[in-house]
Structure formats: C-alpha cells, structure tokens
Symmetry: C2
Subunit: 115 residues, 2 copies
DNA sequence: TCAATATATGAATAAGTGTTCATATATTAG
DNA sequence: CTAATATATGAACACTTATTCATATATTGA
C-alpha cells in the first residue's frame, strides 16, 4: 500500500501529522469559513466593509427579508465574525476584526472584484 | 423605518449596493469558503501544506476511510482548491495556488496555530 | 492475459442548514 | 402606560451534504 517509492510523500505525511492543529482549532477555523460560505452571509460581510450598519440598512444593501437577515446575523455574531452594539432602537453591526477583513480582501482579489 | 438619524449608515449601504460583487462572483467566493469549511477537507488542505501527497498518505495523515477521503478530494478538485496529477498507480495531490495557501495561513494565525 | 494495488464512484441514509411565517422582546415617543 | 418601531427568535419544511458500503476503473508487474 502507498507509493513507497516516494519517500518524500511519507515524510510530508509525517510532518502533517505532527503539526496538525487540534480538534478544537480545526473546528474553529472551519466555523469561520462556514460562516463565510453562504451567499447571504457573504453579502452581509461584503456590505459591512463599507462601514458599520444597522439591520435596516443591511437589509437595504443586500436584499432579502428582515427575519432571514436577522438569522444570518446571529450566526455571524455567534461565530465572532461580526460584532454588535446597541444604539437606541437600533443594533449596529460591524466586522469583528482585521482577520475577517483580510479574508474578504483575499477572496475578492482572488475573484477579481473591486475593493 | 431605519435609523434615519444615522446618515452615515445610509451612505455605507449605498456604497455597499453600488460595489456589491455579481451573483457569480459571490457564488465563487462562497464556494471556496465552503470547500474550506468542513473539518475533513480542512485537514486535507492543512496536510497538503507540507507538500504534495498521494491518497494513501493523505489518509495516513488525516485519518478516515479511503472512500470518504476520495469523495472530499473530488469536491476540492472540482472547486479548484487542489490539483491532481497521476504518477504511475498513484494520484498525487497538491494545493492549487497561492491564494489557497494564503487563506490557510490566515486561518492558522487567527487560530494561533503553528506554521 | 491475469492478479494485485490505488483510486474513484454510485446509491442510500442520516444529519445539518437556510428560509419562511408567526410571534416575541426591547426601546422610544406620546 | 400604550402605541409604534426595530430587531430577534422558535418551529416547520425543503434542501443540501457527509458518510458508509459496495463496486468500478485504471495502472503495474508477472
């Protein structure tokens, strides 16, 4: 079994095993990517690159129903992808940190989008 | 409706609408993130950062069944996240390009993993 | 050609997820 | 306190997706 004539692959597999992140770390990374994987959520995040916004304006910017957007916002909030603060009657959302912005930036350049 | 006392948000929403990527671009970005979102696939990609590997060694590095890994490899291949080449009896896989490596790098630093 | 090995694939099932509808909570204005 | 507005939540359904099992394809060596 295996391609034993390729000692290089065996060594790579060995290194990979040794420094494979923990179960929790893998799950954490996966959660971030999953949050970014649905079109609706991605739209919300791309919109928030323009600055913080309340729910009403997010709905205006990305379309869809208030309820649907709110559900997605919850997922993004729980995944620490965005953060929320209350301002009177409104909840104002914004990107959580620079890592998120960087991921979006990378995805955009990879897809040849404008900034 | 809306927080009309916040002209800033309205302006951000307007900018967001104007430069929202196209349907296809959104779908494309989402597909990449989705490919990276499942623990098993993420493990495969993290392993491939150590260098190209054939299926046998990928299974050895990340665990799971040959069939399961093969299914995930197909998804990654079709999403252009990895590339494959045949070498005799073996198929050798590697990360598709630098963008993928960069995304993994970002996720790792964000999760405080070693390189 | 045949046997052995490496990898891929199809079908089936089980679990996860997005969306919608109705309703609940919280804040402000009167 | 009441009405109005902004946002969140729960349940239900349709849809997608991962995993497993069995089997198929492709390559090598004899």
């Amino acid at each position: 079994m295996g391609c034993d004539h390729e000692e290089l692959h065996r060594a790579a597999a060995q290194r990979a095993k040794e420094q494979m992140p923990s179960e929790e770390q893998i799950a954490g990374m996966g959660a971030v990517f999953k949050a970014l994987s649905e079109p609706c959520r991605l739209r919300i995040l791309l919109a928030l690159r323009q600055g913080e916004m309340c729910v009403y304006h997010i709905v205006e910017a990305v379309g869809g129903t208030q309820s649907g957007i709110s559900h997605q916002l919850r997922i993004l909030r729980e995944g620490r992808i965005i953060k929320a603060r209350r301002d009177g009657q409104n909840i104002v959302y914004s990107l959580a940190d620079e890592h998120v912005a960087a991921l979006l930036e990378l995805a955009c350049t990879h897809s040849h989008c404008q900034v």
